[in-house]
Assembly symmetry: C2
Amino acid sequence: MRIAILSTGDELTTGRTLDTNANYIADQLLAIGYEVTTMMTVGDYPERIIAAWRNLFSQADVIISTGGIGPTADDLTTETVAKVAGVELVHDQATAERIRAMFQSMGRTMPENNLKQALFPAGATILRNDLGTAPGFRIEIATEHGPRIGFIMPGVPREMKHIMAEEVLPWLRSKRPDTHEYRSHTFQTFGISESALDETVAGVLDPETTRLAFRAAFPQISVRVSVHGPPEVVEGQLADAAAKIRESLGEYCYGEGDTDMESEVGRRLTEAGATIAFAESCTGGLIGHRLTNVPGSSAYVLGGVVAYKNEVKHAVLNVANNTLEKHGAVSREVVEEMAQGVRTLTGATYGLATSGIAGPGGGLPDKPVGTVCIALARDGATFSHQYQLWGNREWVKVLTSQVALDWVRRATLGHDPTQSSVLRK
Amino acid sequence: MRIAILSTGDELTTGRTLDTNANYIADQLLAIGYEVTTMMTVGDYPERIIAAWRNLFSQADVIISTGGIGPTADDLTTETVAKVAGVELVHDQATAERIRAMFQSMGRTMPENNLKQALFPAGATILRNDLGTAPGFRIEIATEHGPRIGFIMPGVPREMKHIMAEEVLPWLRSKRPDTHEYRSHTFQTFGISESALDETVAGVLDPETTRLAFRAAFPQISVRVSVHGPPEVVEGQLADAAAKIRESLGEYCYGEGDTDMESEVGRRLTEAGATIAFAESCTGGLIGHRLTNVPGSSAYVLGGVVAYKNEVKHAVLNVANNTLEKHGAVSREVVEEMAQGVRTLTGATYGLATSGIAGPGGGLPDKPVGTVCIALARDGATFSHQYQLWGNREWVKVLTSQVALDWVRRATLGHDPTQSSVLRK
């Protein structure tokens, strides 16, 4: 079954809005074994939308469309699809009432415009949208190329994802010639390049029944294993495949499922009943920001100090002026005192510190841009290391924060924090 | 002249990589008066790429293609375009030598694979790419629909943007029937919704010669004015149009050109010879992170304290336990003491503080999620306000940081910081 994706909207063709819907849909389809043949985008012009549909009929069996089913004058998808299908528009009273009730529950009156969202091409199957006013629909269209299926969904990403999960993906899964089911499991990795990752997992799994998908979202790369098989064995297949990948990834994998480094750190700190405080120089507050992005982080984050100026390192964190003068702010000696200082100041289990040169300015012959020192202090030991990182200012800050957080994660697991995998190329 | 965009690559059709190139190109084209008719994406399959080109020949006069001109086996664009154009591939020695020299300058030997990047369809015009190994090319193709122009560029965004600026956009500008030139100017706004912004600028400019483009990139919305006219008057046209928009935007505009709130704050602090320290609770370090994202910020950022726990507010910032007990951490009284405390601690000109409930947990009947207090302390005065913000955890943090930074900006301009425009709906 060939699948095409159609995105509709002037905001897309004028470059005003980045189309993330098509990318999301393609990724979701891949997880259930489909690769998209074509993606197309047109603006809010009836003749262009009609041409796009007819075009895609010649290339795909299923067309998944987003956009153009809102209440305003430039929302043309529904009437255009009806035209292409050669059918009339029909008013669905239940939908109209649901939309009206939605507005009422927000203390508002439904604008009459929204009634057009209760019109559907005759014969269409309405797809429930619990998150918005516009229900989507599925329609079978007889074309010169044969019967075609159209899925019409809203362009609002949250609503589209909901309808994909509730209606579209289950339908597509049910149409596979086999009775196979599809399962996926994701590993989050850090510290290894995409090509080295590729080599690491190459040949580990059987390409007949499994598929690996990599997604690089700096600073992490996710590896998704997808398997398909008869319902009674597919869970076991997934567990086996996941175990093989888990073993081959080793320490490069820091978490599984939809997670990130700060969430994993939070989980580990919570399990250990430990707390953390941070002393940041070059990262400027990014570590604190990331840690506090995790809901519930107030259970283990005490706070921290952004000691951007040396005077603040001394006055607030008690870094000795002697140490600053002798070794410079970007040194293992200073960053160890910063980590110990914030730990003493707050009473945290772990004190984490960073000091470095994010660039573009500030580099020195012996300490070029990208020189970064990290320290972690706990009861009885202080660890530190000097890295030579790379990239622009934002890149250096983000990479430093990721390594630093990985240090904390490793420490909570009883590993040597300084052996964070970014040290290995 | 109708323009279509073609993006090529399996990484796009599998959803692994988000296509930002098409969006960028569409936006750049809009600024010089062109709206894209169609955007299409296909994977690395020769027959699908050929079909896409032939398809687009029927809809557009110019096809701008990205992707598929790398050195590996799945880079198929060049040979496919030659096939579609019905011409042979020709080796360009100058290009081959330039690629070889590039590798040598990095201390490496050019893999033989890369030689395929020196092959071009006979008759193509090579487009210089100073940032990568693959030069693009422009080619005229005779089709059943008439003569067509193809621009073939690398998929690497940085390289594509370079070739767009150096080669593609100038060529397209030169092909306009008039001798008009195109100029743009951008305003960054904050504190007004997109629809209210739309209403504010409606009718201010003449749609015949000017165009307005809005781009929402939370928490800011940019407004770009584009004008076109004969070369001798176009600069004056731009200045006039910009003046009208500037006036209608009023205080909602906080900066002009490619800027952001933290850069504007940095500029104002530098001009005033002032320094800043921050005391963050709910924002967790985000304000420090944003301020230090600006190169050169060490000139005016002293540092700050992330006082996530009340004990840290008291121990490090000297917030009185009495105040914490009486009013609670999320109160104007506490946030004023935080701002004064960090100012005293560091000696900064401005002390900025935030305390609030980002959610999803932590809400109280009288202080629901989204309740946020901001304070700004300077010599002789301390300002504070309690807001009812909205959205999820990330949204509340980002919006709070934006309002807080806007407070600083307003203060450096001598305005009342508490009148930041987000107060008005």
